[in-house]
């Protein structure tokens, strides 16, 4: 990151190669649209480049800083895409043979997409950071700019709502 602050393009390319999938993944969990998630990933790294000098490793880790940028960009965009069709969030199919485990995983992923769709964006972000990205409660709270208690409460509500939605989908077979 120090090299990026010194405007070294090569270092920036390495940083981007390492962290771009992470940025897109989190953005897609929140905005649900792959195209928009790609845009957010790009915008996030443009901000990393232009604001590299303001990054202080003693205050936050780079990933926490990046998550915060991605979340801000995603929260700015979600109201416009609140009810985008879930098919847009479907994954690109590959030509590889599909073993049973993979079909099951794809089906579970689809159920999760549906269940997440009704959650408020901040709850989606809490689930994405804590479960998908595996951040600790403390780091996830920091990335979201929340206190520990506020994050705990948000995560608890998110899990409860998500569990309820998953149950509803499984009972009605809505996304099958």
């Amino acid at each position: 990151m120090a090299a990026v602050s010194a405007r070294q393009h090569h270092a920036f390319r390495i940083l981007m190669g390492r962290h771009m999938p992470r940025a897109i993944r989190v953005a897609q969990r929140i905005v649900r649209d792959p195209g928009e998630a790609d845009d957010i990933g790009q915008e996030a790294f443009l901000r990393v480049w232009s604001r590299a000098a303001s990054f202080d490793p003693e205050i936050a880790r780079f990933t926490t800083w990046l998550y915060r940028i991605v979340l801000n960009l995603a929260f700015d965009r979600t109201p416009r895409r609140q009810h985008s069709p879930i098919d847009e969030a479907a994954d690109v199919r590959s030509d590889d043979p599909e073993p049973v485990e993979r079909v099951i995983a794809d089906e579970e992923r689809r159920i999760l997409e549906w269940a997440m769709a009704d959650l408020p964006e901040r709850q989606r972000a809490a689930i994405a950071l804590f479960h998908m990205e595996g951040l600790s409660g403390e780091d996830a709270a920091h990335a979201m700019g929340l206190g520990a208690k506020a994050f705990e409460s948000l995560l608890g509500r998110a899990r409860a709502a998500l569990k309820q939605n998953v149950q509803k989908i499984q009972d009605t077979g809505r996304c099958a």
Binding site: M20, R29, W49, E108, H131, G134, G137, L162, K163
Partner: protein, 140 residues
């Protein structure tokens, strides 16, 4: 810790006690020995596995996004006025090199002795013979 507290914590933090707040972990592990508590953890672990599924982002997609960033950076650079482009380190390098070369040339011109008039014949002959002992491969 009561079973209800345990259920509430599991509902918030999931089925892996290692990810719970540190202050709760010891009491939770003791509680997890109970069959009912273990059942709560199992249920939450199943949800954890589902919740941790991530959208697929393959290398190609991330690479394309990265390439687009570089293109946008280059486009933004082209839009800068000439005087701002000229002040970037990469733009200053050729100009700095030229100035340094000129300064070295001036310094050499000023410090080397200036000979007026034709050199004497002996000096010319000795110079020719000295230089003929040199070749591209080194000393002959």
């Amino acid at each position: 810790m009561t079973l209800e507290q345990f259920r509430q914590l599991a509902g918030t933090w999931g089925g892996n006690i290692d990810r719970w707040p540190a202050a709760m972990q010891d009491a939770a592990r003791e509680m997890a020995a109970d069959e009912q508590a273990a059942g709560i953890l199992d249920e939450q672990l199943r949800l954890d596995r589902l919740f941790s599924l991530a959208p697929k982002v393959d290398e190609g997609r991330a690479g394309r996004a990265g390439f687009a960033v570089l293109q946008r950076m280059a486009a933004a650079d082209r839009k800068l006025p000439w005087y701002r482009r000229g002040l970037r380190p990469s733009s200053l390098f050729p100009a700095t090199s030229l100035v340094c070369s000129a300064l070295v040339g001036l310094w050499l011109a000023g410090s080397l002795p200036y000979r007026q008039g034709p050199p004497d014949a002996v000096a010319v002959v000795s110079m020719v013979f000295d230089s003929s002992t040199l070749s591209l491969g080194g000393l002959q």
